[in-house]
Amino acid sequence: MMRQLFILFYLLIGMMTPSISIALVIGSDQEEIYIDANFSGEELLVFGAFYSDPSQSRDSKSDILIEVVGPLEDVALRKKDSYFGFWLNSKSVTFRDVPGFYYLSSTSELTNEFLANNQIGLLEKKKSEMIDWSSLTTDWGSVINEKEKKEFYNALIRTKQNDSLYKQVSDEIEIIDGNLFRSYIDIPNTVPVGEYNVNLYLIIDNEVSQEYSYNFMVARVGIEEAIYSFSKNYPFFYGLISLVIAIIIGWSGAEIFKRFRKV
């Protein structure tokens, strides 16, 4: 199905008139990722084509950059310290409105300077605010010195990376025929639900030349959605039903095996 879509897209691009000097066209195989009972993560396909201006010098360098930003969430980051030999949680920092999922992929290594200039990159916008350690976006608690703040900030990114929720790579975009590209993005099973932004950039000689964005949703469906919303809206009845199921299974289990034992 994905392959067919891709071929169809390829044909469409072929039919396009070459009147546009610089173009970035993209497609994606799905607008929604559904979390159902069988959900165990998914691969999101992003593909597209780019044409660079023929009038440009031949040795100008063009790159593709794909950014996926998940829904914002508040997170608490806790640091463990040793107390009498025990490793216990001690200092805690609350970061507000950080993306629950972040993916940045490019066709070649990007410099931090480029990312900072274009406000692309993980928490890049936030980082500029964080230079004055704004308390609006971050509740630092008992963490006061700059060195420790930096340590917490790095740990935030590291722990998210360990959960496969943050990723920055430069070797996952496949280039076909010089101006077609495709990339499979791993969506792990722990992703938060909500709206995701996909931003694509065509970069020529370290300048953003074209930009394109679209959204997709990660949503619970079917029984997963029904159980989740029931547990939030009617917690008492949710607990009661779960209890009744336990009673029925417990009771009938004993009855069935009692007969079985008598035989």
Binding site: R78, K80, W87, I227, Y238, L240, G250
Partner: protein
């Protein structure tokens, strides 16, 4: 094949869940225990968040206790009056327990407190089982039989508000059973256990109940306490995962019945010694997690908005 758990918000292998439930059920059927003391830590080991593990484990114990109680009830070995008095204390204890639990979640110390509580509980259980089973094995070798007192007279018989418990042939104050119930209620709500391991010795040694009525009565009151804890967690911490509970209940009920059958055919002491070693193994793992410097000293949790 994996299944997505809607409240834990992650997917786990379905066969891993079923075998976990089956093994814990088997052990609980074989030894007449609820199995919560193994279920909760094992769920945490496979990556289920602590709060979900505790709340869901309580729900699972309801099912396994019902299976167990029915047999004792038919033989008239349940003291409903004593169970009811214990339950009064347990009701208030579990309310306090869930309140403590949600406060600990809020300040981010729940994992540590649960670890320490479990380490203490499992070490106690493991050591006492190991000592007891090795004594039985030694006595068997020496062909000795151990005589026990029928019942003990102690301070529990001197307090006010005395009530007659006909089934247990007791005339004691209601204060000790209410206090015992209260403590078990707190532990049940914070640890996701039935508490039989503490309840049974407390009923024998503090209340002086006859041993024959103790197991049925404790199972009977555990049904209700874990039922209350299940509802309290569903409504206050929102951590009960019904899908997780369903698979654990299904496999543990079957496992428990197989365990009961196996218990009739096998000699108990050796297996009990083996269970003691498993329990001590889990305790050691928990202790190491607390004592060894972790690879990652930071941990992240998403602050969920409850609406």
């Amino acid at each position: 094949m994996s299944i997505y758990l809607p409240i834990a918000e992650l997917s786990v292998n379905i066969f891993l869940l079923l075998s976990l439930g089956g093994v814990v059920g088997f052990l609980s059927g074989m030894f007449g225990l609820g199995g919560g003391f193994l279920m909760t830590p094992l769920l945490i080991f496979i990556g289920i968040p602590t709060n979900v593990a505790v709340a869901t484990s309580a729900n699972q114990i309801v099912a396994s206790s019902i299976s167990g109680t029915l047999g004792h009830w038919r033989q008239g070995l349940v003291d409903f009056k004593m169970g009811g008095v214990l339950l009064i204390g347990a009701f208030f204890g579990s309310i306090l327990g869930v309140w403590i639990f949600s406060k600990l979640v809020a300040i981010g110390q729940i994992d540590t407190v649960i670890s320490i509580l479990y380490f203490t509980l499992l070490t106690g259980i493991g050591l006492s089982m190991l000592i007891e089973s090795s004594q039985v094995i030694r006595d068997r070798i020496r062909r000795k039989s151990v005589k026990r007192k029928i019942h003990y007279h102690n301070w529990a018989h001197r307090l006010p508000f005395k009530v007659r418990f006909y089934k247990s042939k007791l005339y004691i104050s209601v204060i000790p059973p209410i206090i015992i119930g209260f403590v078990i209620g707190i532990l049940s709500a914070t640890m996701g256990i039935g508490g039989a391991f503490i309840l049974i010795p407390a009923m024998i040694y503090f209340l002086g109940m006859p041993t024959s009525k103790v197991i049925g009565t404790s199972l009977f009151q555990i049904i209700f306490i874990t039922a209350i804890v299940t509802i309290l967690h569903a409504t206050t911490t929102f951590a009960l995962d019904a899908v997780l509970a369903f698979f654990l209940i299904l496999s543990s009920v079957i496992g428990a019945q197989v365990g009961v059958l196996a218990a009739n055919k096998l000699r108990g002491e050796e297996i009990r010694a083996l269970l003691a070693i498993i329990v001590l193994g889990v305790a050691t793992k928990i202790a190491l997690d607390l004592l060894v410097e972790p690879n990652e000293i930071f941990n992240l949790s998403v602050i969920r908005l409850i609406f």
